[in-house]
């Protein structure tokens, strides 16, 4: 049934539909409403689950690890500082191959403290062995969380479903909420192969001595890599049942485009309308939306972008001292590809800076010029800097 829901509500409802057994989370803006909603479901008896009010995010993830290891379907949600505080545990959850699912409402990182949207937080943990999905709208949040459990449980990998703080988390819009029965069919009850159980004692998290560690790591890397196929497969299964599919990437009028925008998350929505307008004017501008950032879909991306003259990578993060994380991976994808586009990086929307259509136009304009001239003057640029603010360049 379609309802008007915020992104946070959609996430909470998804967790409920997934019949999670243990929820362990800590409040943080802009994620908190997820936890609040789940607390309500539990208080009202609508969801039979243990709702753990842990004292920090580090413990939130630790408790998820304990609960998942004992065989329960678990859920948590966080943002920003919370994600950073639990980051040690992220690597451990994946290393232990526990199918924890987490919603991350993307928010900027301190310092200075900022509660608004960007994607520095989840990008900062992109090495951690978690599958990362980025959502464009609230429907995708709900659907992705349901898919996430299937991916997580089939591959024994934790999955992070990321969506832009405020921009989605606090935005109400129509969302089709599937029937519980349908969800149950899509996502059957789950059993961990070797849970912590006195009947069959196992040891989890031993010391990975040098004789084995690298192989164990390699196995994990392979698992994250093959998640590419698994996500696609589960997405198709989801599509068959619910009529909605997302793919690893989405090509939006990009197949014959000369200038292509590459985006993640809610930005993609704003870009679509613009693309339509350029197209109306006959300009060959397209959009590729990346939904799966880990595993990074190198092949699909090469396929989708290879023909373009110039690609403008718009992203709300920066690997300080280098460029945007998406840009770096996307650019690296082409290192051994003969036909490659020029690629430009536009850092934007940090700390809640609104990314306007004007900003995106500017990116298209700069990329368009590069396409024409064949020259990239500066690979990494910033969009939407307020001109009245000075002093960006430190004096040496």
């Amino acid at each position: 049934m379609k309802q008007i829901l915020t992104g946070n509500e959609a996430a909470a409802i998804a967790a409920k539909l997934a019949r999670v057994k243990v929820i362990s989370a800590y409040p943080i803006t802009p994620q908190t409403a997820i936890v609040e909603k789940l607390a309500e479901f539990v208080a009202d008896g609508e969801l039979e689950a243990e709702f753990m009010k842990v004292e920090s995010e580090h413990s939130a993830m630790s408790a998820c690890i304990g609960a998942a290891a004992a065989g329960a379907r678990t859920f948590t949600a966080t943002s920003s500082q919370g994600l950073m505080l639990m980051s040690e545990m992220l690597y451990i959850a994946s290393g232990l191959r526990l199918p924890v699912v987490m919603a991350n409402a993307n928010r900027a990182l301190s310092s200075p403290l900022n509660i608004w949207c960007d994607q520095q937080d989840s990008m900062a943990v992109r090495d951690s062995g978690w599958v990362q999905l980025y959502c464009e709208d609230n429907q995708e949040i709900l659907d992705s969380i349901l898919q996430a459990y299937r991916v997580a449980e089939e591959l024994l990998l934790p999955v992070m479903v990321c969506f832009d703080g405020y921009i989605l988390s606090h935005t109400a819009e129509p969302v089709d909420v599937p029937e519980q029965g349908e969800v149950d069919k899509f996502l059957p009850p789950y059993e961990l192969p070797h849970p912590l159980d006195p009947e069959r004692p196992v040891t989890m998290g031993p010391v990975g001595v040098p004789e084995y560690y690298q192989e164990i790591r390699c196995m994990l890397q392979e698992a994250v890599r093959v998640a590419e196929d698994k996500i696609a497969e589960i997405d198709r299964a989801f599509g068959r049942r619910f009529g909605r599919r997302y793919g690893l990437i989405e090509r939006y009028r990009s197949d014959d485009a000369e200038v292509v925008l590459l985006t993640l998350g809610s930005l993609s929505g704003t870009a679509r309308g613009l693309i339509d307008r350029y197209r109306k004017r006959g300009e060959k501008v397209g959009l590729v939306k990346l939904r799966v950032f880990r595993p990074f879909p190198f092949g699909e991306l090469i396929d989708a972008l290879g023909h373009a003259k110039a690609v403008a990578v718009l992203e709300k993060d920066v690997s300080l001292g280098s460029g945007g994380a998406l840009f770096i991976d996307a650019a690296a994808a082409f290192i051994d590809v003969a036909r490659r586009p020029l690629m430009l990086n536009f850092i934007c929307g940090l700390g809640g800076r609104d990314v306007t259509q004007l900003d995106i136009r500017e990116a298209i304009r700069v990329a368009g010029r590069a396409a024409e001239t064949g020259v990239v003057r500066r690979a990494v640029r910033w969009l939407g800097l307020r001109e009245k603010i000075v002093g960006l360049r430190p004096k040496l």
């Binding site: 008007i4 405020y166 921009i167 989605l168 109400a172 129509p174 929505g269 609104d354 306007t356």
Partner: protein
């Protein structure tokens, strides 16, 4: 696509007003989107929220810079904020006020004593539902009925009917004018 901006004070329900508008539009088969803009401020501080209504899915995610309509939930805001900033030509300013404001000109204005209505119907000066009645009356963006339905969906039984009364009363009493 129609864009609406709501001005209120933190804690007064401007965000809910925007959401109810989106719900009402949704009930009419349109697509609605509502979202707030929060600062670091607390209760009492001015806040804004936005709503968009369209016949097709709304994918744009920017803030609203040039609203078709502006709704002001708190009469005291007029003195401290330029509520009409960016208002599009032909747009309406829906004001919670006892009397026609001074110093505004060249735009359509709908005036409603939403605080009075709220105190009458709800017993508290929470104006977010009443003001929607005025908005419906002034702009025809959504029907009175849809607003009422949205209000019923959103609030628990007891609260719902009081708020419906607020919507209706405001709808009745809203005064439309064009200030020149």
């Amino acid at each position: 696509m129609i864009e609406v901006r709501f001005h209120g004070r933190a804690g007064q329900g401007a965000v809910t007003a925007a959401r109810l508008l989106a719900e009402a539009a949704f009930l009419e088969g349109k697509c609605g989107q509502a979202f707030p803009f929060f600062g670091a401020e607390r209760r009492g501080a001015p806040v804004v929220a936005f709503a968009r209504i369209d016949n097709k899915p709304i994918r744009i995610r920017t803030q609203v810079y040039e609203p078709n309509h502006v709704v002001v939930l708190d009469p005291t805001l007029l003195e401290v904020i330029n509520v009409a900033a960016g208002l599009r030509r032909g747009g309406t300013l829906v004001l919670n006020a006892k009397k026609t404001p001074e110093g505004i000109s060249g735009i359509k204005v709908a005036v409603i004593d939403a605080t009075g209505v709220a105190i009458e119907t709800l017993g508290v000066p929470i104006t977010n539902t009443a003001i929607l009645g005025a908005l419906a009356k002034a702009t025809k963006l959504v029907s009175l009925n849809s607003i009422i339905k949205a209000v019923r969906n959103y609030f628990g039984d007891k609260l719902a009917e009081k708020n419906v009364a607020a919507v209706k009363a405001a709808y009745e009493r809203t005064q439309l004018m064009k200030l020149s």
